[in-house]
């Protein structure tokens, strides 16, 4: 049942609302292969084109050019109601005039399935979604989390070839969001449905995805597993958008070492001696000590966040770095103004190309 999704050279151009005759690219030549049963998130800031891309897959937007294929079937010309790509909407889009049950079986009724079959599938899906006892309720009697479950149940009951999520958790509070995230992931893996998932929340993307597509200004910046995009960001944008990052200007000394402000830092590289590099250094990969280390620095700001302490330090002759130190409760905080030494972890460095 699971189906691969191929997106090839997909472009979406809108007429500019401000200057007639001009056009704006919502998506510029996107290429993406989603494997059968895989969950891929489209991640990026608002306006990056991720929702437009998803809506083109659903059929609600017409691509300007390029192809969308489910398996080996080209979908460009297929009407949205024939695509078999069930979608969970950001606003849930629950039919307010129908009961929970009628919402969930809406699509099956259109398929003219037998009453027995509808009842059987509905019972199963309602049970999976924890909605069995509220089947007869009206949607406006439900909480946000319950409405979310109705939207999800209504989509998966279709046993679609592709499942689409458009920021499904953005209207929920933080606790419920964490819980629904886990539920969605478990359900998707159990059913093995190929899934495209749009979000602007990097933690959501990291926790739920097989692979992440990072988008910015209509361009795909990087496609990779959560670990890849975090540890080896392809661009400065990706490094900054996913997690926090310090950017170090370095000069290559040899194949094993780079210079940062005259301090030699071990880093295996293929570049030529003398080349300039921008190196990504994650805040949690920096150790702070008042006993000694690679880079002397002054603490400018210190915040206690419970599991970590978040520092902003001024490294002598280099500039400001963000530093996250684990378990600050055990050792106490460095106060603003105190002198410290910062030592980057060797394994955590990553040069941008």
């Amino acid at each position: 049942m699971a189906e691969a999704v191929h997106i090839r050279n997909l472009v979406k151009r809108f007429d500019s609302p401000d200057s007639p005759g001009q056009s704006v690219f919502a998506v510029r030549s996107a290429n993406l292969e989603v494997k059968p049963g895989e969950l891929v998130t489209l991640l990026g800031p608002s306006g990056c084109g991720k929702t437009t891309l998803l809506r083109m897959v659903a059929g609600f937007e017409e691509p300007t050019s390029g192809d969308i294929l489910f398996g080996d079937r080209r979908m460009n010309e297929v009407a949205p109601n024939r695509r078999d790509a069930a979608m969970v909407f950001q606003s849930y889009a629950i039919f307010p005039h129908l009961s929970v049950y009628e919402n969930v079986v809406f699509g099956l009724r259109l398929k003219k399935l037998s009453a027995d079959e509808i009842k059987k599938r509905a019972d199963r899906v309602l049970a999976i979604s924890g909605l069995t006892h509220m089947a007869t309720r009206s949607p406006n009697q439900l909480s946000g989390g319950q409405q979310q479950r109705v939207a999800l149940a209504r989509a998966i009951i279709m046993e679609p070839r592709v499942l689409l999520f458009d920021e499904p958790l953005s209207n929920l509070d933080a606790k419920l969001r964490d819980q629904m995230r886990v539920e969605i992931r478990e359900l998707q893996q159990r059913l093995g449905i190929t899934t495209l998932y749009v979000t602007h929340d990097q933690i959501e993307a990291m926790s739920i995805s097989d692979r992440i597509v990072v988008m910015n200004s209509g361009v795909i910046e990087q496609i990779g597993t959560p670990r890849e995009v975090y540890a080896h960001p392809a661009t400065r944008f990706v490094a900054e958008f996913i997690g926090k990052a310090n950017f170090l200007n370095a000069t290559v000394r040899d194949g094993q070492t780079i210079d940062v402000a005259g301090v030699p830092v071990p880093y295996v590289n293929q570049a030529n001696a003398g080349d300039q590099l921008t190196v990504v250094l994650r805040p949690e990969a920096i150790a702070l000590s008042d006993q000694g280390g690679d880079f002397p620095a002054t603490v400018k700001r210190a915040m206690f966040l419970g599991n970590i302490a978040e520092y902003l330090i001024e490294v002598d002759g280099v500039g400001e770095w963000l530093v996250d130190s684990p378990n600050p409760g055990e050792s106490g905080l460095f106060q603003p103004g105190s002198r410290v030494f910062a030592t980057p972890s060797r394994a955590a460095l990553h040069a941008l190309s």
Binding site: N81, A93, H97, L98, F106
Partner: protein
């Protein structure tokens, strides 16, 4: 631009039913709205098959036509002015002040809207006519004449002030009282608050209400025909008389073009200029606070005015009701059922015809209105704004113009429809659908489009989506569209009077005929029957719409 249109067509082509629908609606609007109007223009430029501007020159040459134009414009302006004052006071009192009996007064204010537009004219004849209860019987005046300027203005104020009231009610209700509180709080006097805050905020609404009343007054046919008299010519009845009396189609067409111009201008100003200058928009939560802008005595005074207007409503309808059961008004006040006997014997065919036409018109108009609203709000296709404009254009076109246009357009090949039921139904559908379209658009704009996308996503075609999701969600607009269509089909006169025939006649036309031949009792009886039918229909339509939406809400295991 071209590429966009092509891609829109490609999207449309994927849903052949939708494409067909758009094409059909376009064609229908072209044939039944634009084509008759064009025919009126063409006819007005002809004389004995020669192209000429001579008809228009007559406006300058003939005093009769000049007076008709001037009279129509001045009556329209005056009625607009006074109607807006009454409407504003009533809206202010009933939305912003804490006074008893608001609900009942609200219903009394809008009763004139659902009755035949010239009921007030008949009432005025009963009360102030040559044998009027007040003028002759009570005051003993012998040489008083209500006919002419005064009669028309009074009758129209009574008929159209409720329209101003309804539109200003929405405007005043949406001005947050906290703005007034804020002004009072920084030291403004009550009068200053009204002059500097409340009134300026409602000004676009006032202008809009004035223009709507002006359009209605210009287009009004029944009141002038009953009350204007020969010495006070007005455009709409004059155009009618040119055609039915002198058989001069070109001149009738010319007069209706003259009639059309101020209406279209007012409509354009109202829609494209004022509508963009509304300060207040409906934000969802109506504020229920009462205004502190008026002092106690002023409040009592304004409330008194509203009570007075409501009392006149009751008086006018009471007079109609009593008149329907009275032997000969002014001479013999013996109670009788003769007038109703006449209506149900001699005139029963007319009652049946009217009812049948209204029953056919109502669902067509309601569904057509919701479909157009749906297409305009939810779909993109080339020529969409033209379609929207075309579909609401007929709102601004006086019925007389429409009637003449239909006679001209459908009296010849390829479409011969004059004298049929079809032409009356078509005329009513296209003439009164704009109100349904507008309310459908307003409701639809407030509904999250992803609800319909969800239906499509789950496999529903455009038509299924409309039927199973959109229509139930816009049930309130659908209801008002149905009611409006029915009420108008029962009470219309200005266009219909050109289209009735021996086979298909309407009660409103009968009322006018009876008034014309002096049988006021029969006219009153017809009016009572029309009002009763309209009330019954509203109750039935309400029940159907409630059941329709409830039914969809039920769980079917």
């Amino acid at each position: 631009m071209f590429a966009t249109a092509r891609s829109q067509i490609r999207v449309l082509a994927r849903d052949p039913i939708l494409l067909a629908l758009v094409v059909v609606i376009f064609a229908a609007i072209l044939i039944f709205v634009v084509y008759p109007l064009a025919m009126v223009f063409l006819a007005s430029l002809q004389d004995r098959s020669q192209w000429t501007l001579a008809n228009y020159a007559l406006i300058g040459e003939r005093r009769l036509y000049r007076n008709a134009l001037w009279n129509s414009l001045s009556v329209g302006a005056l009625v607009g002015f006074i109607g807006v004052i009454i409407g504003y006071i009533a809206a202010f009192v009933l939305t912003r002040l804490d006074v008893p009996g608001k609900r009942l007064l609200h219903y009394l204010m809008i009763v004139p809207i659902i009755s035949p537009p010239f009921v007030s004219a008949v009432s005025i004849v009963f009360l102030f006519g040559n044998n009027g209860l007040i003028t002759r019987q009570l005051l003993g005046l012998m040489d008083f004449s209500i006919y002419g300027f005064h009669g028309v203005v009074w009758s129209q104020i009574f008929t159209f002030a409720p329209i101003a009231y309804l539109s200003l009610r929405g405007v005043l209700a949406s001005i947050s009282p906290t703005l007034e509180d804020a002004a009072l709080n920084i030291g403004a006097s009550r009068w200053q608050v009204f002059r500097k805050v409340t009134f300026p905020l409602s000004l676009p609404g006032v202008a809009s209400a004035f223009l709507v009343v002006f359009i209605e007054s210009m287009a009004d046919f029944g009141n002038p025909l009953v009350l204007a008299g020969a010495a006070f010519p007005m455009l709409a009845p004059q155009a009618y008389l040119e055609i039915t009396g002198s058989f001069n189609l070109p001149r009738g067409a010319m007069l209706s073009v003259i009639l059309l111009l101020p209406s279209i201008t007012a409509f354009a100003i109202q829609r494209y200029w004022i509508a963009k200058r509304q300060y207040v928009t409906v934000t969802g939560k109506p504020t229920a606070s009462t205004s502190k802008v008026v002092s106690g005595p002023v409040k009592s005074f304004l409330y008194g005015l509203v009570l007075l207007f409501s009392a006149i409503v009751i008086l006018f309808y009471g007079v109609i009701f009593v008149g329907a059961f009275t032997q000969v008004w002014g001479f013999n006040y013996t109670p009788t059922l003769n007038h109703f006997a006449y209506v149900f014997n001699v005139g029963f065919d007319t009652v049946k015809d009217t009812l049948l036409i209204a029953i056919i018109t109502t669902p067509i108009s309601g569904i057509f209105g919701m479909l157009v609203a749906f297409l305009v709000v939810r779909r993109t296709f080339p020529g969409k704004s033209a379609l929207e404009f075309g579909s609401i254009l007929s709102f601004a076109v006086p019925g007389t113009v429409v009637g003449i246009g239909y006679v001209l357009a459908f009296n010849q090949q390829p479409l011969i429809l004059t004298g049929t039921l079809t032409i009356l139904v078509l005329c009513f559908v296209f003439r009164y659908v704009p109100v349904g379209i507008q309310s459908g658009i307003a409701v639809l704009r407030q509904i999250d489009p992803s609800i319909e996308e969800a239906a499509q996503n789950l496999g529903a075609s455009a038509l299924t989506t409309f039927r199973k999701v959109t229509l139930p969600l816009i049930a309130p607009a659908f209801f008002s569209a149905l009611v409006y269509a029915f009420v108008r089909a029962m009470t219309a006169i200005s266009a219909a009077i050109f289209l009735v025939s021996a086979n298909w006649n309407l009660m409103t036309v009968q009322i006018l005929n009876q008034v014309g031949s002096g049988r006021l009792g029969v006219a009153a009886a017809y009016s009572v029957v029309v009002i009763a039918l309209v009330l019954v229909a509203i109750i039935i339509i309400n029940a159907i719409v409630v059941r329709m939406t409830r039914h969809m809400n039920m769980v079917r295991f």
